[in-house]
Structure formats: structure tokens, C-alpha cells
């Protein structure tokens, strides 16, 4: 089992009761040596793992992921390195890469599909690739059974949400806030209405992300989504030398 269907199945049948949990880490942050071990640890609790490919200009990211991305680049982390590391391990959890378009484009889209299959990458999230520009990558990925996970935001009109969900596979990424990742602001009260709306329109699972930091955030939206993506908060946990698995446990218990 691999690719879009694998991701979807795992989100529908999470390891622990409640919504599926999708932690995000930046590859090779804070150091490259621990990357594989961190993935093994996360795989015990995570239903899908999202791995950030560091980029020099992460314009959709807040300060935490800017910092982790910068540090990973300093550590010599590249897309090629990430594939080589993933080839060396076997996880029983789907892997999704989050990358800005330029590193993927430079790698080559055909080569990207081959490397993804060889190293067990199931799908992609590309924050600077709206549906207007995504046909080429989407065709390449979906022809091979891999997922291109598209994003919707509270600024997206409902007819556009429909178009986007139709072109998404694996799950639909519902951004909970206007703004960049790891926002300081609490989730707004009407976020549940928006998530319900996305849920109603989407035929594939809906996972919410951006600004989800703790158990109370999870409780607030749990009933309205199929999965939850936790990024900046877990990156900070790892940065401080604390256990990411304990952090994941605390999200649900």
C-alpha cells in the first residue's frame, strides 16, 4: 500500500481514538544525525508524517519554521539527502513532503516521482502552488498513485473550495487561519463553521493545520475534521530537546 489511497486509509483509521494526528518536522532540524530516529519515534504515534524540505525563502511560514528551515540548510539538508535517508528506513506510516515549488522543479518532476516511489514518499504539499499552476505536478504524481494535497483557507470562496477538493488527493489541507504557520493568535470562534463547510464539500478527508498548538485547540476542532496537523509547536518541542512522542500523546490525552 502506498500513495494517496494509503494516506486516506490511515487518516480514516487512526492509531488512537479521535482525529488522525499528523506531525510536521523540518528534515534535519535541529541536527541531521537524529532525523531517522525522530521519524521512527513519530511513527509510533503519528497517522501520517509530514516532512518539511527546507527552502531559503519560506514565504508561507512563520518564525519557527523559518528558523528550522534555515538551520536545516546550514546542516546541509537537501531534497536529495532526504530521499537518501528515507531509503534507509522502513516506516509503517505514510510520508508526505512539504516543499516550496522551486526545489521540486529543479529536481525534475519525473525524477521526483521515481525518487518518491523508491524512498517511500506518498504525497506532497506545495504551499506556493495554487490549482491554477498545479496541473503538471498533479498529473505526474497522480499517474503514479502519489498524492498532491491541496490547501484551502478561510479566504477561499466555497465554489473554489469545491474546485480545489476535486483536485486534491490523500486529504484536503484546511488552513485554519489567514496568515503564516505557527501564528500567535488563538483559533477564531468561527473556525468550526469553516471546517464544517470544507467537510461538507470534500469527498476526501479534511485535515486542519496552522496555529494548532495544544490539547484545547485539538478539542475545539476535533469533531469537525478527520485529522490535525501540528507543525510549529512540535518543531519547537524538538528544538528544546523534549520528546515529540510525549507531545503527541498530550494532544489527545
Amino acid at each position: 500500500m502506498f500513495g494517496g489511497q494509503y494516506i486516506e486509509d490511515r487518516i480514516k483509521a487512526p492509531k488512537a481514538p479521535g482525529p488522525a494526528i499528523i506531525p510536521f518536522i523540518t528534515a534535519g532540524h535541529p541536527n541531521a544525525e537524529d532525523f531517522k530516529q525522530t521519524l521512527y519515534d513519530l511513527a509510533k504515534k503519528a497517522d501520517v508524517i509530514e516532512i518539511g524540505v527546507p527552502f531559503s525563502d519560506p514565504m508561507a511560514d512563520g518564525v519557527t519554521i523559518q528558523r528550522s528551515s534555515h538551520m536545516a540548510i546550514e546542516n546541509g539538508v537537501t531534497l536529495t539527502w532526504i530521499f537518501s535517508q528515507l531509503k534507509e528506513i522502513k516506516l509503517d506510516t505514510p510520508i508526505v513532503l512539504m516543499s516550496y515549488l522551486n526545489p521540486l522543479y529543479v529536481f525534475g518532476l519525473k525524477e521526483l516521482v521515481e525518487a518518491s516511489i523508491e524512498s517511500g514518499v506518498d504525497g506532497y504539499i506545495v504551499p506556493d502552488l495554487p490549482i491554477e499552476e498545479s496541473k503538471e505536478l498533479n498529473d505526474q504524481l497522480t499517474d503514479a498513485g502519489l498524492a498532491l494535497i491541496q490547501l484551502v483557507t478561510p479566504a477561499t470562496p466555497s465554489d473554489r473550495i469545491e474546485m480545489i477538493t476535486k483536485q486534491s488527493s490523500g486529504f484536503i489541507y484546511a488552513v485554519t487561519v489567514k496568515g503564516v504557520t505557527g501564528g500567535e493568535n488563538a483559533l477564531s470562534a468561527d473556525v468550526t463553521d469553516y471546517l464544517e463547510q470544507v467537510h461538507e464539500i470534500s469527498k476526501i478527508p479534511v485535515c486542519a493545520g496552522f496555529g494548532i498548538r495544544d490539547k484545547s485547540d485539538v478539542e475545539m476542532i476535533a469533531e469537525h475534521v478527520d485529522g490535525i496537523i501540528v507543525g510549529s509547536a512540535i518543531v519547537e518541542t524538538i528544538e528544546q530537546g523534549n520528546s515529540p512522542t510525549e507531545f503527541l500523546d498530550r494532544l489527545k490525552n
Binding site: 531534497l79 529543479v106 506556493d128 490547501l151 473554489r160 488552513v175 489567514k178 496568515g179
Partner: protein, 406 residues
Amino acid sequence: MRSEDQNLLKALLDGEFPDESGRFGVFGGQYAPETLMPALKKLEKNIKIFLKDKTFQEEFVKELNSWAGRPTALTYAKQLSKRWGVEVFLKREDLTHTGAHKINNALGQAMLAKKLGVKRIVAETGAGQHGVASAAACARVGLPCTVYMGAIDIERQAPNVDRMKQLGTEVISVMSGDQTLRAAIDEAFRDWVSDPENTHYIIGSVVGPHPFPFLVREMQSIIGKEARQQMLNVEESLPDAVFACVGGGSNAIGLFHAFLGDSEVELFGIEAGGTSDDLGENAATLASGKPGILHGTYSMLLHDNDGLIQETHSVSAGLDYPGVGPEHAFLQSINRVKYSSARDDEALELLREVCEYEGILPAIESSHAFVEAKKWAKDNKGKRILIGLSGRGDKDMPTLSKLMHE
């Protein structure tokens, strides 16, 4: 030019580019986060209305003339002409209000933003000229303005920082990334993403996702329209060659556009050659870059084999940018404009020559254009050339003072 290039040029002149997908040939597009897409589509729709709206155009031209100091002069450079053996004409954007061509775009977009009913403006700035222009234009139309500026640029363009503040603008120092123009653009986008309905981002050059490269070009094309007519009035003839410096490329696009259809006029864009041809020591994107995606557009770009954007170097903050407008990449690909680069020391040498012989202090950015013009003149004696003097060099005095006292 090859016939296929001729056809592409004709398509551009006929208004077929940017096309439905926001592209000039293969370059351009809309690689923006989903949060911005509704705002970009709204802007696209409104541009179509307002750029054709007679009342808006009349108001814009009136403001350009009565507030921003247009039309700007065409100056015959007597001494340079004698020294170089060609007839040298200068298009004097340095004479505009706030001292550079940037005001054309800042004023136009601020007026447009006011019509769109947004509540605040964000802008980025490298040399500080676009920041000052945005600050002034926002004060004029009555909108609050926030300008993002790299920490390194804040230091080397100090006079402009205080000018912005004096004009009531909030200046935010960007400590992330390379702390220059590129990081300032990243940060302005991040701000815009957090409130796209109520904020308008006045991008300062012909870069960014569609419709910005088109919008900024339309605001800047007044430069070439005026210059072409002035050449005909004064000389009864067009120039043989036109020179302009290129960072993101807004003054160059603005100057070139009116001449694109004049096949006898050669066009030259000059980028920042920095200190050497090595990656990281210049900002010569068109001369030594590869295609890639940055800040919402597919264009030529300075990036490495992993797709990471490279740091750039130029003595001129305004040219210190690893990307370039997609329309320039297109004009290069169809061989209509020739692009080359000038080194830091060459630009500074020409800056001094223009000061000494014409009594004009050009911006270090603009001085890059003079370098290529002087070289070209050597093999083209007796010809007539036009140089885009995009801005004045007052803002460069901290850099120049340091060099004078070294």
C-alpha cells in the same frame, strides 16, 4: 531576430501577453499561497476595469503631473557626448518627486488601492526609493503604510529610512533571510497573507505573481512614452540604442516598452555585476541565472542545484535581487533586449564621470546603465543613445562618503 521570435514580440505588442494564465511566453504565472489567490483574482479583475477607465486615467495623469513632477526632462548630455563620441540623451527620472521612477508605480497603485477600498498598504524596499515613494503616495491618498526593509539595507540607505518615518510610514527592519530586498519581499508577502482583504501590497518592481508584473509595467510605461516623444520632438529621430539598469526591472520595462516595436532601436538592460562572476558575488540574474520560481513568478533566477535561492551582492541595494521580472526573461528569450552586467567599481567610476561632467548625481543603480552605454559608444561613434537615469544618488551619500574618506 528569428521569425518565431518576431511572432512572439508581435503577440506581446498586440497585448496577448500576459495571457490568461498571467504569462509572457513561458515566463510569469501565479505561484502564490492559496490565501492570496482570491485577492490576486480580485486585483486582476479591478485592474482590467481601472486601467481602461477614463476618469481614473485622467486623475492618475493629473497627479503624476501636478504632484509627482511629470513629465520629466530629456537632457542632452553635452560633455558626455563629446567625450564618448555619441549623442547622449538622459531620461531624467531622478527629477521626479522623491527622486526616482518608483513614484510612478507607487502613486498609481496607492490610487488604485484607495479605489478598491483597502484599509492599509504594505510595501517592501531595497534602496529605500520604493519605500519613500510608497510612503509619500500613501500620505497623499490617505492610507496608512508599513514598509519592510532588510536590516543591511537600513544601514546602507539610512537617509531614506528617516524620510519614510517623516512621511508617517512604519518601517519594519527585516532580520530574517539575507536581510536585503529578497527577505523584505518575503516578509511583505507574509504580512499580506495575514489580511489579504483589507491590505494591498504595493510591490515595487515588475516581479511577483500575476497581475503584478503587468500592473507595475503599465504604471511605469509612461517613462518610455514620454522619452520616445521627446526624442522625436528634439531630434526628429529615435535613438539608435537605449540603456537601462535592471534589478527587478521596473524602470527598464517602463523605458523599453514604447520602443519594443521600433526594430531599429537596440535595447540594453544592465544588471549588477557585483565584484565577480562567481555565484553569490553579483546579482546578474539574466546573464548567469537559470529558470526557477521565486516570489510567485517563474523567471530567471540565481539558485543552486538544490533549488535554494542564492545570496547576491551589489554595491547598489536596488539591484541586489536574485530574481528578475518575467517580462525581461521573455524579452531576453526572444532576443529583443540584450542583457549584460556592470561591476560595482565600474558603476562607481561612471557615477563620478556623470557628476563631474554633467552636474548630475545619479543613483548607483542608474550608474550601471552608463557603464554599458560608454562601452557601446566606443564601437558606434556618431550614433544617438538614450540612457534611463532612473533615480538620483542623494540616498547613496553614506556609501559614497565612506568611499571618499577611505
